[in-house]
Amino acid sequence: MTSEHQSWGRFPRVSRQAAHPVVWQTESLPVSSGPLLPHGLGRSYGDSCLNEGGTLLTTPTLDRLLGFDVATGVVRCEAGVSLDTLLRLVVPRGWFLPVTPGTRFVTVGGAIANDVHGKNHHRAGTFGRYVRRFELLRSDGSRRVCSPEEHRDWYEATIGGLGLTGLILWADVQLRPIHNPFVLTETVPLENLDAFFEVSRESEPDHEFTVAWLDGLARGRRLGRGLYYRGNFAPPQLEGLPLRKSHLNRASGLAVPFDLPGFSLNRLSVAAFNWLYYRVNLLKRGARLQHYDPFFYPLDAVQRWNRIYGRRGFFQFQCVVPHATARDALRELLERSAREVPSFLNVLKTFGSVSSPGWLSFPRPGVTLALDFANRGARTLRLIAELDRVTREAGGAVYPAKDAGMSAENFAAYFPQLERFKPYVDPAFSSSFWRRMTSASAVATSPLALGQGTGEGVGVPAAVPL
């Protein structure tokens, strides 16, 4: 029951970690010698969903739908309900998630705790904005219904609060109406980074969903070469559209059956993938109608796709940099990543100015870049540290849900409301990430130094040949 729960990036690995399934809202929290941490479907990439030496309160067993008002589009469900379950319930009745990340396999509790964002951030802001109320259970047994009107401080601390303020039991989420399950999408080729800014400016006023994929190996004049996707939910007149099989929800049987060997993702194969992806999708340029599923959740079609990175796992790095410094910072981030270790998937998108109620919410106005790197040990950690530094100097921030390498000092700089947040952390709760970010030990502030016997439950060392 210990090491079954890893993060999506499968790094760092944890060994001493217990799991306690939460089945009923009426239960009290278990008494445990180590700290507690809620854990949903484990789609966080780094160590924010891990609790080395402690106990995970696993919530996929807390998964009841408690009510759905088809007239107002408010759904109430327990925290372990997945977005996948919600979509199956609400889409046939003309509603959709107000904000969705790139996978359906996250829980509502996780979406709140990480205040997730989607391709519509420039319009809609984060998931947390649509959470009307939720109930929080603390380790002292107290239960609070939190909303902008009741226990507002707890409401704001818990949205984006990384699961540290207590266990969310249920939540009310405001959905958005749709006419049908289709999205009108358009693919626009981007020659370079400048083109991204231009196409973004021109697309955002008329398109609810925007995101760009970049070729991680394009350099020089071609740096930032990629494809820009923009779309809107289809209008009502398409309702009588004949359904083709490809339009229906794909119950994909495709899965990565085992860890691919490390060498299968080398510079050559990543280059080949990027080239092929660019060419194939270039053919699809122009407007077309697409079912929401492949549009929002392309990677969900391949179960356990994280195994392509092999046993040693991979790092995600996602940062946001303010508009003022974005051009230079992105250029440097992309150049460094292209030079050092090729990133498999590079995603670029602008964040709008719609603010979140959450104190530790990651999205803020600017441009966000997501990169991923196969774990090659110290070399990759060094690169992450560099990217972290560039982000800090540009006045940006790194996303905790995708982090396994930022420094504690930078974390405090990225989240200026950190001190305000700290008193709201449940004394019995913690995570591997939280200890890494708040440990007094100076050693822990540098990811390169991890593993030099800082003791207490740091899972990094075993996996990093230094």
Binding site: W24, T26, L66, G67, L89
Partner: protein, 245 residues
């Protein structure tokens, strides 16, 4: 099954089955011990599309309440054409060996209370000459083993009771379905280390509805347990009694 009485509705297997029934638009009468937990299960069923959900918190070890319960459920749903008996306890073998009180508890909940409920249900279904009785038993009832023979005996007795009932009700067109799950990953088995033989409650729930729809007699879910239990039943007693199972 369109109008179904579910006994032990807060058990993991029953909950998963209730979800499938709700998605079909069935009307449900849910019974469980804990009122608050039963309430969220009822809300879940209603949200997932059940045409009607009624609930009653009740300890099924109180046999005297059974007749009235069945009557009330039938009234609430405007008739009954299905019942799922899903309540049960695993008990603790070692504690049962030390104490008759513990042993009796397991036999009361798993066998006696089911037999009492089935008596009320069978008479109603026989009179209306229609309906499906689905009872969750266990592979543990197929052969007594030192590691859980008290639980096994409660399920074995249940199996024989159901055989007889099936024989009696065949003429009336009432189906009696004995479901024998193997290991299931539920809170009942939370303390047991999991292996490849464990099935999910959802998997078992699909098997239960398939068996109910097909008006089967006895089914193993997942089906591989039919083979496993065939082998275990085939071991001669002289050898079996020396084995550690």
């Amino acid at each position: 099954m369109k109008k179904v009485l579910v006994l032990g509705a807060t058990s993991a297997i029953a909950q998963a089955t209730v979800r499938l029934l709700a998605a079909r638009g069935a009307a449900l009468y849910l019974v469980g011990r804990n009122a608050a937990n039963l309430d969220v299960v009822a809300k879940d069923a209603a949200t997932r599309g059940a045409s009607k959900v009624e609930q009653q918190a009740l300890d099924l070890d109180d046999f005297s309440a059974h007749e009235a319960l069945v009557e009330r459920a039938a009234q609430a749903l405007g008739g009954l054409d299905g019942a799922l008996i899903a309540h049960g306890v695993l008990g603790e073998q070692k504690a049962c060996e030390r104490s008759w009180t513990e042993t009796e508890k397991v036999l009361r909940t798993n066998f006696l209370s089911a037999a009492s409920l089935l008596t009320a249900l069978a008479n109603r279904f026989e009179a209306q000459k229609a309906g499906t009785l689905v009872v969750i038993s266990s592979v543990a009832g197929d052969r007594g083993r030192q590691s859980n023979y008290v639980y096994g005996a409660s399920k074995g007795a249940l199996n024989v009771f159901l055989q007889g009932l099936r024989n009696r009700l065949a003429r009336s067109g009432v189906a009696v379905v004995t479901v024998k799950p193997g290991f299931v990953d539920t809170p009942m088995t939370a303390h047991v280390p999991k292996n490849k033989l464990f099935a999910s409650p959802e998997q078992v729930a699909r098997g239960i509805l398939r068996a109910a729809d097909g008006r089967k007699n006895e089914v193993y879910v997942p089906a591989r347990w039919a083979l496993i239990m065939f082998i275990i039943r085939s071991i001669p007693e002289g050898i079996f009694k020396k084995m550690k199972l």
